[in-house]
Assembly symmetry: C2
Homo-oligomer: 132 residues x 2
Amino acid sequence: MKPTHSPFDSPCKTVTDIISLIGDKWSVLVIKSLGDGRLRFTEIKRSIDGVSQKMLTTTLRGLERDGYISRTVYPTVPMRVEYELTDLGVDLLEPISALGQWAVDNHHRVVSARRRYDGDADMENRALAVHA
Amino acid sequence: MKPTHSPFDSPCKTVTDIISLIGDKWSVLVIKSLGDGRLRFTEIKRSIDGVSQKMLTTTLRGLERDGYISRTVYPTVPMRVEYELTDLGVDLLEPISALGQWAVDNHHRVVSARRRYDGDADMENRALAVHA
DNA sequence: CAGTATCCCGCATGATACTG
DNA sequence: CAGTATCATGCGGGATACTG
């Protein structure tokens, strides 16, 4: 969204730039899916529950543009298109997986935090400091 | 659309659940900001360029609900509210930081991939222009 | 099969004003 | 200071139909 690519971009912007792609609904799932090897369009679609044709295409284009995946067209009839992680994509898989693993390991803590928060919803102030 | 929280949830859903919070525009920046220590509302706001009062509040509430940060109110006049990472938040900081570091280290690769991709698009446009 | 092309809706985000 | 309340809006994302 911000096309300002000055050499003095703050790390903030840089991080946001990368994270924003991660943040969308499907990119991470696609990358994870392709982590097992090259797949055809339909195979990716089947592997990800709930993704629409349009959003999968959009997601794949974004990932390809950023260099995370490669797209190979076989002009047979019917058409055949395969996607595969690039070296960059494989590299990204590492911190992504770490985050994913963290999510799996700590999901219960988040869930119980949510339950507690929602249970205390009727309280006005969640943490009143003792006025020293 | 309340997700069932059975112990047999697909990792897919679990990961998406956590990532979706990461994915929003400001959460990561807030967590990073609080990584340096407890801060007041205004201090966080100042440390993050471009965030509105409303979105910062919304983000902080979400992070508090999920147990990543704690909120402490000092009922002085004027009011004083401090935010701080919880243990869970500190734990999350680790994979987040790894991803952030990756972003900083590899941003140039993404940028050049984008330039190449967009450059190829220009080539196609030129070819079409010849026909016209 | 692997997309494009449209249409449409809801929510995330933002701007502004007000308050304890 | 640290928020709510309200209104406006852009676009993410789904449904559907069409195409090479």
